[in-house]
Amino acid sequence: MKGYYFKKILSSIFVLFIIISLNFFLPRMIFQDPAQPYYAGVPEDAYALREQIREEYGFNDPLIVQYFDYLGRVFTLDFGESHYYKESVWTVMFSRIPWSMVLTISSTVISITLGIIYGAIAGKRREHTADKALLWLSGVTTAIPSFWLALVSVMLFAFTIKLFPYRGAMTAGYTLTFNMPLFLIAFALCVILAIALRTITKKSLFVFAGIPVSLLAGIIVAVPPADIFDVAYHAALPVMISVFSGTISYALLVRNSMIAVTNEDYILTARAKGLPSSVVLYKHTFRNALLPLITNVGMSMAGLLGGSVLMEKIFSWPGMGQLLLDACNNGDYLLSQAILLLFAVITVVCNFITDLVYHKFDPRVKEV
């Protein structure tokens, strides 16, 4: 058992090392002169000025020296300063992460919930209207690119019937008010309450639900209601578009899994035992059918921060996807490297956690 974890950790570290190295070398293969973005308007024949800049940013050092310097900075979590934003890379990234999470967490949670419900219904009632509609919709979502759907939705819901706003995370001219001390107090109180309830009731539900509920409570207390409504109003359309394709995707997964599980011997045994059909369905079929969903959700966790680049671009949403796009367009080397590295770390970590969770939920993995 310990060996399994050890191997997983080792392979994750190896993957991370490869990613960190690629992160250094790839941009240097794309741009002829890595110092180019730093010249920012310096005339091409002002060689001495350019030389001075190269020297200042260490581009004149041998590549291997630059690489080890980069590794040193990665391990000390020093990503430097974004030359475009003129701020520390960490500051820039942290100002965008919450906005991406607003879109992606809400759309993922809604998609998973709706997807499970719809998938369960479709799986249970094969060849009925709901099932047929699901198969048809999955064809539609596969065929229609999400950015096209987003553009059409903007035209329809924002410009034609003016139901939703077409840009930004808040109404123009407003910024989010966030009271950090209040947030921390509310968060801490909720966590304490969850621990107390877990201790009293011995139910693991309070462990799983404790953190997200505490976060939510903290946000509700720390952000004025007008700001919450404003953000929710602006997030509605992009979230709905993401939810549409997400729900269909998760529903299809659950539906297929349900069908596969229904044919298993243990379901036949359960039925033969004379268990009520609702127990067979929800306790035996449904719970086992959810296993592939764990992998799928785990894999999509990295997307939580990455967001949808195109969606953020269309809705001018100030998230990480838009930030990455801007960083690449403006040759903001240090920022794009840090964002990609963050995505990679999250992916590796999420994969690792998924493996562990799967390992816990499916005893067959242990045997393997």
Partner: protein, 630 residues
């Protein structure tokens, strides 16, 4: 039925309720400008993005300014602005570069009049002054075109410095500071701020390179009795124009403590402009709102605005261009800051849904050209094509029909340009002996006749066996294909070679550029006549300059350009410039294709008074002056 009614009621309720979740825009009444990119900082020297330039113009001033001609003005006739005032062009004899007052009175930019202390005069520098300037110049010219340090002996250095820094006939300018200007934090503006700005940029040349480059010919300045006096280490009047017209002046009391100007975000800019940013009005990644200064000088306000100044100007981020256009159509914004290409303008123009979008399409100083590689590694190098390189270039030139290209590539939104590469509305443009502008000439028969005299005869398939490639970025592919169709008429096959991200390096002669032709873009406005040397000149070492993509090395041309640059008399300078244009046209190394218009979209739903100015987008000093609510 009940279910349907319930669903309909629910949807109606949703439609009524959902929009009430949002709130009223703080600056709903402001002039609303949409952009696909908001500046991440408001440092006046750090970005060339259009949105940054937009804000710099609102917050800061330059030492002098110049206004362009309103669109529709015809020489010799009157032009009436929306408020009834009449446009009067500046007299090129007394105001050759069309200067207007900025922070300094324009009078100081002209030769000193009898009895006046303002204006410029020539003088020979002292040995110390000349040596100091040589030392400054060596910072820039101490490296060769590959960026390697030049190891020179003292004699060699002196020889090179003698070429780059003239040791006689320098210029000294004296200006009076315009009354009424102040910094938006209440601090009075003085000539000391201008002196500080120039010296500060020179001191931080490493991080403010693009600005420092303007100051190559700047020697020093001083404040005398409150006036600004500065010395130009040459008699290059256009260098003075760049210095006074391009560098925005920053406050000494703010920036003297800034040790690294390139890292300054400057989110609350302190400037002398009519607008400023209130606390909380810079919202990163969303909106930036500039407000009119309540303390702005009354006299300056009257000079700058014909009507009540617009109180607030909000620039709103809309990352997607199509969303931006629809926001304009729908009335959410009044102006699209970003310029659009002719295809998009054509689509909007021919779609009745977008009828309430106004399109401003005015000329641009840039000219698209077909440039031949005559450098040592290029297809058109000396002796290539069996010695008929020039004849082939001339034939290609004769075959090009600019109007067809303008119609096919630009949907008519462009203008024709003469072989001198300077547009017809400029006073220094190449004209014939009768004073008429010389347009590009198209004559396919003549082109074929010229080629028939070479060893490249037309075969029965209409081919002369010449296949050439045009190395160009993907957005130029349509242009190349249109050119290919035209060149078929003279039996030359043209192929498109898609440029990669290393394009700009690949076409530099010091990288052994081996392309046949490229689609290039050049601009030779009166202020940019230095660009002739940049485009066709050579370094003291004799190799082509970095922007001399054609790789032409012609000592006679170099001498002509040097003489032109050092001629202070504008009329004489223009005459020399015309000779240079004719010389370049005769060499047939760069053929003009067209000049694409600057296209901007705006709306007249809420604001009126938009005025087009030649060479500018619809957001120009005239629009700022005449814009008012309907």
């Amino acid at each position: 039925m009940k279910k349907i009614i319930s669903v309909l009621l629910f949807i109606s309720l949703l439609i009524l309720m959902v929009p009430s979740c949002g709130r009223q825009d703080k600056y709903a009444e402001s002039l609303r400008v949409g952009t696909t990119e908001l500046p991440k900082n408001l440092n006046p020297y750090s970005s060339t993005a259009s949105s940054s330039t937009f804000f710099v113009g609102l917050f800061y001033n330059t030492a002098l300014s110049s206004n362009s001609v309103p669109v529709g003005y015809e020489t010799g006739k009157t032009f009436t602005f929306p408020d009834g005032s009449v446009y009067t062009p500046s007299d090129p004899k007394i105001n050759p570069l069309a200067f207007e007052d900025g922070l300094l009175e324009a009078e100081g930019a002209f030769p000193k009049q009898d009895g006046s202390v303002y204006g410029y005069e020539y003088f020979d520098p002292t040995e110390e002054q000349w040596k100091a300037q040589c030392e400054k110049e060596s910072v820039i010219f101490g490296f060769d075109e590959s960026g390697n340090a030049i190891n020179e002996t003292e004699e060699e250095f002196m020889e090179r410095a003698l070429i780059t820094v003239p040791n006689k006939n320098w210029m000294r300018f004296r200006f009076k500071v315009v009354d009424g200007h102040s910094w938006n934090d209440g601090t009075p503006f003085t000539a000391e701020d201008i002196k500080f700005t120039f010296d500060y940029i020179v001191k931080h040349a490493g991080s403010l390179g693009s600005q420092a480059y303007f100051l190559t010919d700047y020697h020093s300045s001083e404040v005398v009795d409150g006036d600004f006096v500065f010395i130009l280490s040459s008699n290059n009047y256009t260098a003075m124009k760049s210095i006074c017209n391009s560098i925005v002046i920053i406050p000494k009391h703010i920036w003297q403590t800034v040790r690294n100007p390139s890292k300054e975000k400057n989110l609350n800019p302190v400037g002398t402009g009519a607008y400023y940013i209130k606390e909380g009005d810079y919202i990163e990644g969303s909106t930036i709102t500039a407000s009119f200064r309540e303390d702005y000088d009354e006299k300056l306000t009257k000079e700058m605005f014909a009507y009540e100044p617009i109180k607030n100007i909000s620039v709103i981020l809309m990352s997607n261009e199509d969303v931006l256009i629809n926001a304009l159509r729908e009335g959410s914004i009044d102006l699209m800051m970003d310029t659009v290409n002719s295809s998009k303008a054509y689509a909007v123009k021919n779609n009745s849904t977008y009828d309430n979008i106004q399109i401003s399409s005015v000329y641009n100083s840039f000219v698209s050209t077909l440039l031949f590689n005559v450098g040592p590694y290029g297809a058109f190098k000396e002796g290539s094509f069996n010695g008929y390189s020039k004849e082939i270039r001339q034939a290609i030139s004769l075959c090009i029909d600019q109007q067809v290209l303008i119609d096919e590539v630009l949907h008519g939104m462009g203008v024709k340009v003469g072989d001198g590469l300077v547009q017809d509305y400029y006073n220094h443009a190449y004209v014939d002996e009768n004073g008429n502008y010389v347009y590009h000439r198209t004559n396919v028969e003549e082109a074929n006749a010229l080629l028939d005299k070479t060893s490249y005869k037309m075969d029965e398939n209409g081919s002369r066996g010449i296949t050439l490639t045009v190395f160009a970025s993907p957005d130029k592919e349509v242009t190349v294909k249109a050119l290919a169709t035209q060149l078929k008429q003279i039996g030359i096959t043209l192929e498109y070679d898609q440029a990669t991200s290393t394009y700009s390096e690949d076409i530099k002669q010091y990288n052994h550029a081996d392309f046949d032709m490229i689609i290039n873009s050049v601009s030779f406005t009166p202020e940019q006549m230095l660009m002739f040397d940049a485009r066709y000149g050579v370094y003291p070492s004799g190799s082509p300059r970095v922007f001399n993509y054609s790789g032409v090395i012609d000592n006679d041309l170099v001498a002509m350009m040097k003489t032109m640059e050092q001629t202070a008399n504008t009329e004489e300078q223009y005459k020399l410039c015309r000779e240079i244009q004719k010389y370049i046209a005769d060499m047939a190394i760069e053929i003009p294709l067209f000049s694409e218009n600057t296209i901007t979209f705006y709306s007249e739903n809420r604001y009126t008074g938009w005025t087009e100015a030649e060479g500018s987008s619809i957001w120009n000093s005239y629009s700022i002056r005449y814009l008012h609510t309907k």
